[in-house]
Symmetry: C2
């Protein structure tokens, strides 16, 4: 009787369970296809063949190409972290280099931009990208600022709305510059560039924080 009560809580417990290996194989095959073919020539039939599953299995789990690629690319952002390097400048340089490394991978370059383009006409897709990719990056900005405030490198925020606004601005400036440099200018985010960028950004933030 206890077991019967438990079995009702989380979804259907009967029947054949979905294969976790199939999920992993499909996402890996999607990334491989993105590298070899790019977004436009990627077909779900080809992904299924690469993954060793039937095409119908793929359609049972993802609504379409967009959702599949978002999940495949989102996994690449799991590795982003913010190790404490002692100073705000070093923290920023570290996260910029990490972020650029993920963006420079061919599967990210072709996959992420394409789903972002599609997301402009698909709110559900936009939300999926926001939660699985963008917010994960944004958390790094918030962490970095909190650390810098503890160290005394940045003053604490006066009120919550100012704090949110400035965090959004910093996020757009950092992520935007790296994305533009990597995907549009198509030039490397190498140490000299990172140093120059961090210098300008930090001087700007410090100046904006002190005087009006």
């Amino acid at each position: 009787m206890v077991a019967a009560m438990q079995s009702r809580i989380s979804g259907p417990r009967t029947g054949r369970p979905r294969s976790a290996e199939a999920d992993a194989a499909i996402l890996a095959a999607t990334r491989a296809a993105l590298v070899e073919l790019g977004w436009s020539k990627l077909t779900l039939g080809d992904v299924a063949t690469r993954a060793g599953v039937a095409k119908t299995t793929l359609y049972r789990r993802w609504a379409g190409k967009n959702e599949l690629v978002v999940d495949a690319v989102a996994a690449l952002f799991d590795e982003l972290e913010l190790p404490d390097r002692g100073t705000l400048a070093a923290d920023i340089e570290g996260v910029v280099i990490q972020f650029a490394a993920v963006l420079a991978r061919p599967e990210t370059r072709s996959g992420l931009m394409a789903v972002l383009a599609e997301s402009t006409r698909d709110d559900a897709l936009r939300e999926r990208i926001r939660t699985s990719v963008v917010d994960r990056q944004k958390r790094l900005v918030l962490e970095g600022r909190a650390r810098a405030q503890v160290r005394g490198e940045l003053p604490p925020e006066a009120d919550a709305s100012d704090a949110a606004r400035s965090a959004d601005l910093i996020f757009d400036m950092v992520a935007g510059a790296v994305v533009h440099r990597t995907l549009i200018s198509a030039e490397p985010v190498d140490p000299p560039w990172v140093r120059d960028f961090t210098r300008v950004l930090l001087l700007g933030l410090a100046g904006a924080a002190t005087g009006p």
Copy 2:
């Protein structure tokens, strides 16, 4: 437009000339289709029907969907200008607002990101985007800096390589922030944001120019 111009310059002069109205109609139809359908559901057959031309005419002028959309979107960037507003800050704010207005249009949002995604695997397409979209924006950065140096707001550059490096950095920071804010964060580039952004950027540039 590009194809038509090339055929007139380097090609033979005899025979029926290509219709300039057809070019304009096709590009306008492409933008309309981008607004209504987005990138993925846009088909060349549909564009031809909207433009009132035969599908074969379309294929005679553009190699495919990518090239067509690049030309259709590039035309939207023709209106970008840099009126002299007296100060560097005002110049930056003006160009940022203009740039954001172009990016906020639905045809730009869905079309530009998609061709950028495709360009990661197509060097010719990348070059086409660079000359018809990116370089046109970059020129505004160079103009703005030159004006600021004449006014004395920015010091003249020591050597040419430093000047090029810093122009690239400024361009990536300005365009990147606006692109990220508009297309990824999906929030408006409104006057408060523009003011905050310009303030941080200018303080950063001023600090980087004076200090070590």
